[in-house]
Symmetry: C2
Subunit: 145 residues, 2 copies
């Protein structure tokens, strides 16, 4: 079924536009000025603290080298800390500081509110099928690993 695969490829190419449309016009006001990668990092940390640099770099979509700079900046701003993981001295586990947690909370709420307000324009049926579609896709991620 290579035909289906190619169709999937075509659709995947359009996903960034989808998220772009959803995020259009979002405005996240934080006490400290942050780049998008910094905001994303805080959001992921807010959900799952204590993972490695490499893990977060993948979630944010940066190379390890670039993510080092992001972590440096967040640490300089006092929002995260690198903690050592004893059983593997190569790894750094990242955690939020108190202020980092408070700002991450703000970002998380803004993000959710913005998207919720966008999809409110859909009727109930479309919204439901959108949610189902997203769940299908996300659950497919795991099967590909």
């Amino acid at each position: 079924m290579a035909v289906v695969g190619e169709k999937v490829a075509e659709l995947v190419g359009m996903l960034p536009m989808f998220t772009g449309t959803l995020l259009e016009g979002i405005e996240i006001r934080t006490p400290i000025k942050l780049s998008i990668s910094e905001e994303k990092t805080l959001m992921f940390l807010y959900k799952h603290e204590g993972k490695s640099m490499t893990a977060y770099s993948k979630k944010v979509g940066l190379t390890r080298g670039s993510f080092t700079a992001v972590a440096d900046r967040l640490e300089d701003k006092g929002l995260i800390e690198r903690t050592s993981v004893c059983d593997d001295r190569r790894k750094n586990a990242l955690i939020l500081t108190k202020e980092g947690k408070s700002i991450a909370k703000i970002i998380d709420r803004c993000f959710k509110q913005h998207i919720a307000s966008k999809v409110e324009l859909l009727d109930a049926e479309d919204l439901k099928s959108l949610k189902n579609a997203l769940e299908t896709i996300v659950s497919t991620i795991d099967k590909l690993k």
Copy 2:
């Protein structure tokens, strides 16, 4: 149904990881070295030539300012041309050169083959529901405009 909206927001946040997983390990070998934005631009041009700079910048996910640089580089490499649209002298319509078209074809094929080979790991049923889910999402894009 703000609850559904928030759930959607959470899932949307995971989409970049999904595309990241699908594209992991992709290797596009072209006669001329290209950046990712340049490759994306050629792919979109391959599908729809003659749109404006702003239109492509949105598809690629760059600001207009950044996209000017991408178009400059592609023009310097002889892969695209800016053509004037007579009825609006502000706009530049982009078109592929002969070589640009040939390279765009390579990129398009590599992209599709790579993703097709990835999703081959899924069984027929999962593959079908993935395709349906993607179609649902893409068709939702339009309704939000």
